[in-house]
């Protein structure tokens, strides 16, 4: 059995990181499945077959969203950037640039943990920093 989601020795990774890696792998698989169904739907002319595929694709949408929500809950910086981009009207690239800049700056101000750290993540406790 392969463990392709790991780029570092799994035994050296904390549980939290391994769980995140599994969910990232799931997210990729769900996105791939959504794309596959999209292609099949584009070429299938049988109405009944299309209905089944559309239903199955809906399942993949749900799985994708659940995996994404899980990951966003675990990573405040990712969540903050996502909040600046998702479900917003207007220029996506512009929102992305702004969201990244604001979120990274804020994380630095509040003393967010170093990536991969197992610290308690307390950092700064000044008002406006958290």
């Amino acid at each position: 059995m392969g463990f392709d989601q790991y780029h570092e020795p799994a035994s050296e990774l904390p549980d939290r990181t391994r769980t995140a890696a599994r969910l990232c792998a799931s997210l990729t698989e769900e996105a791939e499945a959504i794309g596959w169904y999209e292609q099949r739907l584009a070429v299938e002319s049988d109405r009944e077959a299309r209905a089944i595929m559309r239903d199955a694709q809906g399942e993949e949408f749900k799985h994708f969203c659940m995996a994404l929500e899980f990951l966003l809950r675990r990573d405040p910086l990712w969540r903050e950037i996502a909040e600046g981009i998702l479900f917003q009207e207007g220029d996506i690239v512009e929102h992305g640039e702004e969201a990244e800049e604001e979120a990274v700056e804020e994380a630095a101000t509040r003393g967010a943990p170093v990536a991969g750290s197992t610290s308690l993540g307390i950092g700064s406790l000044r008002d406006g920093a958290a």
Binding site: R110, T118, R126
Partner: protein
């Protein structure tokens, strides 16, 4: 694997979650300095020193005709608070017990927070840290035991800071005894003293274990810097069949950039 060696501890993910959460809950109310001073980092365990941006001339360079200087840095200190937990208690945590005995962790957390506050506000000579109260260029004001005079003392402190161009808002770190007195006191007309003091400083009033008396500090930023390498973390030391030895750890240093930006109120 990090230097904390958490993976070697015979502790389940559920119990680690409980331990970490308990530590956060106990540390957060007591970490007064982090509510008032600038925070740099965390830079990680490998971070060893803060650049002071200064150099000191060195005599006798290795060849004639040269001048030499050595950069000055402020090395971080490692603070460690060991504690021991019962394996039976942690097994009960795995069973879903809601009253797990983590008293030793609570004591270690308070000890760590007190030490951090003391270093920041009163200094730590062996570590090369000058505290805010020590560095202050203002004449200290005696706080005393009479709570009714506290607003006057704090207002005088604010005026002293304003008179040298140090803008607000300000924060007030109160040692445990004066803090309790303030909480217990209402002024004539029933107005809580706590609220009155907050209005004077236009900022937070924080419980500060480790602080002697009180300290008024400017919150404008850039005056006081707590530089953290490894932020507060819990690591694993050893275990036997009954207990697990863990520790709270952090590495940090602290420096005052503007000595006139705070004023000490002595007990």
């Amino acid at each position: 694997m990090s230097h904390l060696l958490r993976e070697f501890a015979p502790i389940t993910e559920v119990a680690w979650g409980l331990i970490d959460e308990e530590a956060r809950e106990r540390l957060t109310p007591a970490l007064a300095a982090r509510k008032l001073v600038d925070f740099g980092g965390p830079h990680g365990w490998e971070y060893s020193a803060t650049n002071l941006g200064r150099a000191q001339g060195l005599p006798d360079p290795p060849a004639a005709g040269l001048t030499a200087a050595q950069r000055r840095v402020l090395p971080v200190v490692e603070l460690r608070a060991p504690f021991s937990l019962s394996r039976d208690e942690l097994r009960d945590a795995d069973r879903g017990a809601a009253d797990v005995d983590l008293d030793a962790l609570d004591d270690a957390a308070l000890c760590m927070a007190t030490a951090e506050n003391r270093a920041v506000f009163h200094g730590w000579e062996a570590a090369g840290i000058t505290g805010i109260a020590q560095a202050s260029t203002h004449e200290p004001i005696q706080l005393g035991d009479d709570c009714e005079r506290y607003p006057r003392h704090v207002a005088r402190a604010v005026e002293a800071l304003l008179s040298v161009g140090v803008a607000g808002p300000y924060g007030l770190a109160l040692g445990p005894e004066p803090y309790t007195r303030v909480l217990e006191t209402t002024e004539h007309g029933g107005y809580p003293l706590l609220e009155h003091l907050r209005k004077i400083v236009a900022g937070p009033l924080v419980w500060a274990p480790g602080v002697q008396g009180a300290v008024v500090v400017s919150l404008r930023g850039g005056d006081f810097l707590l530089e953290v390498g490894e932020d507060l973390s819990i690591g694993y030391d050893a275990h036997d069949d009954r207990t697990i030895q863990l520790y709270l750890v952090q590495s940090f240093t602290f420096r005052v950039a503007t000595s006139e930006a705070a004023l000490a109120l002595t007990p």
